[in-house]
């Protein structure tokens, strides 16, 4: 096939590399210039003589090939004689809708961190636990006000049935809820409430070990908490006129906790605070807010290390790739800014991903290093490849005209929460 095409069309020397197990012998190929991804993928399948065809995507100079080689060469100004090094990897298959978990109210946050389970936080103040077969296992009324965020504390013992969920809410507190998925049936009890903020909380997140929590709030503060359950209340509620209400909502067995540190530097609402991922970034945190800044913190000392100012981009959400190299910030100007943390003294975004609606949430792939799912207010979730940010790799419409508010991605399962409840999608491939 290659020989017939090359007779009519000029060709380009190319060397293929890969990190997948499907490696080609390293030799120079003359590839016709009008070939696109499909022909290249066919070539590799034929060359390897794979029993079942696997679609591949191709990276040229760190950019996914979406056009023909000729157009790509013209765009990038590569000479005809230069040997191109093309890396290929397995294509991401179009996502498939797996199941729906309808909710009465909006789902503000989802978590797939518990194996075989989904945790959703809803605006009616309930945390709900589902298993993969869509059975509602638990429905806990944790807060009187809408819950804005939920995270699952990684348990030190992997196989215990008891987990702690941390949820942040509009009622100015965050709560720790212990759930047990024992054989005698799931049970839950709220064990502690975190008292610091004077405005509704926007997010809560945990570090990799599950020993610390970060809460961010509309009042511009970030609270650092440990996850130990105190034996006694650390905050005293001494308001007589509130007693009746408090007694109803906050029983005595919920221990009131105070933060171990407060990170204070943001001038406006903090929309997300999270611990830095990766081994080398111990004790580091990032936060973003409506003051259009992304700040990195030394949690131990409670000092803001670096401030990245992105003018006129109030940040709605922040996410970090698991390797800790790239930070992604969704902002209200319909962009997701990319911050390459490997760049020393980073002061501005290194790239943007344009959306057609306000992006509200970002989930990075746990396994794949380069793929990101973002959800937006137009009800569309988009899958991006960080190597090629011009356009989304694929987008899938979750709801029509309803907002996507939360997205979480564990392995090949993507949980999407929003106005219409929760949906589970499956994304294959993507190495």
């Amino acid at each position: 096939m290659a020989s017939t095409s090359s007779s009519t069309m000029s060709s380009h020397p190319v060397v293929f590399t890969t990190q997948t197990p499907y490696a080609l012998p390293s030799q120079k190929f003359m590839i016709p210039l009008d070939w696109k991804r499909y022909q290249l993928s066919q070539l590799i399948n034929k060359a390897l003589d794979l029993p079942k065809p696997i679609p591949f995507d191709f990276l040229v100079h760190g950019e996914i090939l979406r056009t023909s080689l000729l157009e790509w060469r013209a765009e990038n100004g590569i000479g005809e004689e230069d040997t191109l090094e093309i890396e290929y990897f397995e294509s991401v298959m179009p996502p498939q809708r797996m199941s729906e978990l309808p909710h009465e109210d909006w789902v503000s946050s989802v978590s797939c961190q518990i194996p075989q389970h989904f945790v959703t936080a809803s605006y009616d103040g309930h945390l709900r636990l589902f298993d993969y077969s869509r059975n509602p296992l638990l429905d806990i009324s944790v807060h009187q006000a809408p819950i804005t965020s939920v995270c699952v504390l990684p348990s030190p013992l992997a196989e215990t049935d008891s987990r702690i969920l941390a949820s942040s809410s509009h009622d100015l507190t965050a709560c720790l809820t212990r759930i047990s998925l024992g054989s005698e049936g799931p049970s839950a009890s709220t064990v502690a409430s975190l008292h610091l903020h004077t405005s509704p909380l926007s997010s809560i997140s945990t570090d990799a070990s599950g020993s610390h929590l970060l809460t961010s709030s509309w009042d511009g503060l970030i609270g650092v908490w440990d996850t130990s359950i105190p034996n006694d209340h650390q905050v005293h509620l001494d308001r007589g006129d509130d007693r009746k209400k408090r007694r109803k909502t906050a029983p005595e067995n919920i221990k009131r906790k105070t933060p171990i540190a407060v990170l204070k530097s943001h001038t406006a609402r903090v929309s997300k605070a999270l611990f830095a991922a990766g081994e080398h970034a111990k004790g580091k945190a990032y936060s973003c807010g409506f003051d259009s800044t992304v700040r990195s913190w030394d949690v131990e000392s409670g000092v803001c290390i670096n401030t990245i100012n992105v003018p006129e981009r109030p940040m709605l959400n922040l996410a970090e790739t698991p390797d800790g190299n790239i930070l992604l910030g969704a902002s209200t100007d319909r962009t997701v800014s990319i911050f390459d943390l490997r760049v020393s003294s980073l002061s501005s975004s290194t790239g943007i991903m344009m959306h057609s609606a306000t992006p509200s949430c970002i989930a990075t792939s746990e396994s794949g290093k380069q793929q990101v799912v973002t959800g937006a207010y137009d009800g569309v979730a988009r899958l991006w490849d960080l190597r090629s940010t011009k356009g989304a790799v694929t987008s899938f419409r979750v709801w029509d005209g309803m907002k996507v508010l939360a997205v979480d991605w564990v392995r090949d399962v993507v949980g999407i929460g929003g106005e219409g409840g929760m949906e589970v999608w499956r994304i294959d491939g993507g190495s």
Binding site: T198, S199, D242, T332, Y377
Partner: protein
């Protein structure tokens, strides 16, 4: 005919000559001339007197031959001339032969050759010899000589000396003279000389002819031989006239014309040709006296300026320095004819005969035709101006970011149209009220409703208290103002708010018709405080807070005087600031920095000083019905919008007239709002659109505010003629929230 004419002319000539002859002194001169002409004409016949006569006979023949081809009139003239000459020649010859006035020639045998030769006497070329200068010694001229009768002299000679009167004898002397002098009978009295002078031979001849009853002209021959002008061989006149009989068509009517006429006649009969109607002017001819109008007193039109004299450069052979160089020529050729300095280039020709025809001839003729057509000579090319270049230079909207440019989310009121909304001072919450009495509190960024209050009547206005230590908002309904506390506020703030709105110890009640009802112990689901406005005050159309959050002004829709109320929260007291207001109050506003108060009635905006209680200014926007107004955060500028689509920008430092009037909405303007921190303002309209403007105000007094249209936001549906009813900016962020008649409240993000 020609012959008789000739004769007449000839007679005239003769008479003139007779008169000349009678004058006497000129005879010699005439002779001299004749002689010289004669000599000039016939050189070969010198001295041959006899041959002169033969010449006279031949002369007309030659002339006739030469002139025969010429036109008749010219011929006549020529003939008369020739004949005249002929006459003089004749006369000359006569004089020569008969009278010998001229000195006689002698035939002498030459000493040298031995031949006979004619010798004429020497002519002295002195002064007298010239006949033209020879003159009468008396120079007095032709005057009546009796003037000199009593004087001893007759006049003066050329030198001014007297000419003395000649001695005059008596009658006897005269008689004796006649006896003695045989020639005395041929003398006549010369008036000038006052003496008798002998008559010349010609004069005598004329007298003789007159006596004999002959023609006084000597050479007039009454029996001249006939000159055969047109007869004889070779003299036949080729006549253009033919004797062919006249053709019939000269008098027979034309068949084709008849057919043509019949065709027209038939058409007229069948009505295909309708004669033009006689116009009114034709029916009644307008006669008027052309002199009736008084003559105009205007000065006569100026004479045309004199054309400039041609210069050297216009010469066909100009000096070298006038000739253009090659570059000049090229430049001249490259410029448009309208832009050239002169309309020609100097050109050198070695000779005038080498000058070519005028190459602009046809063009000039064409231009004159254009003049006759009253068409302009210069063909002006239509101005090719880019319309964009005429627009004022405005900065591009991209350079003025951020401003809202897309709809981020939408919140729906399902039941009724949303009339009002307000955004909390921290920019986190939106309270929107609809006409079914539902107030929704929702998050700005997610659009999730967190609390809903249902009231009995429709909500006309909502306003958050600008205080930062307390958190509540006011909703105006029919005859009531309700105060609400949003949920999920910090305990400190809640306590502060509660103590503000429902203090445990009420301040002393004041004299007022307005009741303040606190419901402090009530649930969160109801208003914590209610102000009952006087009955029949109608829907609260507008609420506005003083910046400190203690005073609240409310405008009700009733047309009565008590439509504006000022409420003081701390004292729980309400008062009507105006006893009397002209016109229905549309809006009121507190000045952001000064104790001033804006009141917009239907046509005017009045600015009052609340501290001094007097009217400061009346602004005249020229709007028929003011719908909305907002004051710039600096307090020096206000914008006023009207139902007639106009938006007026007032600079309060300047006049009472608007600094700028903008009309860009296609329907009535409903709401205006300045952004508290960003240099932005927005206007919403019944056409369903929101327009965002950049409005930068300079503290420098000399610089005018810069107003740049940025963005038109569309997305609200028009329902029952109502579009976007209220817009509000989000504090601290360049975001806009708009409430539409379609029940949706939209957040527009940058």
């Amino acid at each position: 005919m020609a012959v008789t004419g000739l004769g007449k002319v000839r007679n005239k000539r003769k008479q003139e000559e007779v008169e000349e002859v009678e004058k006497g002194p000129f005879v010699g001169a005439v002779d001299l001339e004749m002689q010289s002409e004669d000599e000039a004409e016939d050189e070969d016949q010198e001295g041959d007197d006899a041959s002169d006569d033969g010449d006279v006979d031949e002369f007309p023949e030659i002339d006739a031959a030469s002139d025969s081809e010429e036109e008749s009139e010219e011929e006549e003239e020529e003939d008369t001339d020739d004949l005249n000459e002929e006459d003089t020649l004749d006369e000359n010859s006569d004089a020569d032969s008969d009278l010998h006035i001229f000195p006689k020639s002698k035939k002498v045998v030459s000493d040298i050759t031995g031949q006979t030769k004619v010798v004429y006497p020497e002519i002295e070329p002195d002064y007298d010899s010239d006949s033209s200068t020879e003159d009468d010694p008396n120079r007095v001229g032709n005057i009546p000589m009796h003037w000199y009768d009593d004087l001893p002299h007759l006049g003066y000679n050329i030198n001014g000396k007297r000419v003395l009167r000649p001695a005059k004898g008596d009658e006897l002397d005269k008689f004796l003279q006649t006896v003695e002098d045989p020639n005395s009978w041929t003398t006549a009295f010369d008036k000038n000389a006052q003496m008798d002078k002998p008559l010349s031979a010609e004069e005598l001849d004329i007298i003789r002819r007159l006596q004999a009853g002959e023609n006084p002209d000597a050479e007039y021959d009454p029996y001249e031989p006939t000159i055969e002008w047109f007869t004889g061989k070779g003299k036949e006149e080729v006549m253009p006239l033919s004797s062919a009989p006249e053709p019939k068509r000269r008098w027979l009517p034309s068949k084709w014309e008849k057919q043509k006429i019949m065709k027209i006649v038939r058409a007229i009969r069948q009505g295909r040709i309708v004669g033009s109607k006689p116009t009114a002017a034709d029916k009644k001819q307008q006669f008027y006296a052309i002199w009736n109008e008084p003559p105009s007193n205007q000065p006569p039109p100026l004479p045309a300026p004199k054309p400039k004299l041609p210069t050297n450069s216009e010469s066909y052979n100009p000096p070298e320095e006038y000739l253009p160089t090659e570059e000049e020529r090229k430049q001249w050729e490259n410029t448009d004819p309208e832009d050239r300095e002169g309309d020609y280039l100097p050109h050198k020709y070695p000779a005038l005969r080498l000058v070519p025809a005028y190459d602009q001839f046809i063009k000039q003729r064409f231009n004159r035709q254009l003049d006759l057509y009253l068409a302009p000579r210069i063909q002006r090319v239509k101005l090719n101006v880019d319309p964009n270049s005429l627009l004022p230079k405005l900065p591009t909207p991209n350079s003025l970011r951020p401003f809202p440019n897309y709809k981020s989310l939408q919140f729906m009121h399902t039941k009724a149209r949303v009339r009002c909304l307000s955004i909390s001072p921290d920019g986190a919450w939106v309270a929107s009220g609809d006409e079914s009495g539902v107030i929704s509190l929702w998050e700005v960024n997610v659009g999730r409703e967190v609390k809903r209050w249902s009231l009995s009547s429709k909500v006309g206005a909502i306003e958050w208290c600008p205080r930062l230590d307390a958190c509540f908002f006011v909703a105006g309904t029919e005859e009531r103002l309700h105060f609400f506390i949003p949920p999920n506020i910090s305990p400190a703030m809640l306590t502060m708010t509660q103590s503000t709105l429902a203090p445990p110890t009420l301040p002393p009640a004041t004299q007022s018709s307005i009741k303040w009802i606190s419901t402090s112990g009530a649930t969160e689901d109801g208003p914590i405080l209610t102000i009952e406005l006087p009955s029949a005050s109608g829907l609260s159309r507008q609420l506005t807070w003083h910046r400190k959050g203690d005073y609240l002004a409310s405008v009700s829709s009733s047309e009565t005087q008590g439509s504006v109320w000022m409420h003081q929260i701390s004292r729980r007291h309400s008062q009507a600031p105006f006893k009397k207001i002209k016109g229905a109050v549309q809006m009121v506003l507190f000045h952001p920095t000064k104790p001033h108060f804006f009141v917009a009635t239907q046509r005017y905006v009045r600015l009052y000083n609340l501290a001094e209680q007097k009217l400061l200014k009346t602004l005249m926007p020229g709007i028929k019905w003011i719908s909305s107004m907002d004051v710039h955060p600096s307090g020096d500028h206000i914008i006023v919008g009207g139902y007639d689509r106009k938006l007026c920008w007032f600079d309060l430092e300047l006049s009472e007239k608007p600094y700028k009037v903008l009309r860009y909405h296609s329907r009535a303007i409903r709401s205006l709002h300045f952004h508290p921190t960003y240099p932005l303002f927005a206007s919403s309209s019944d056409d369903g659109s929101i327009q965002i403007f950049h409005a930068r105000v300079y503290s420098d007094l000399m610089t005018d505010p810069l107003i740049v249209p940025l963005k038109i936001l569309r997305g609200h549906d028009v329902q029952e003629g109502l579009g976007v009813l209220q817009i509000k900016w989000v504090n601290k962020q360049p975001w806009l929230v708009s409430a539409g008649a379609d029940g949706s409240v939209s957040l527009w993000c940058s």
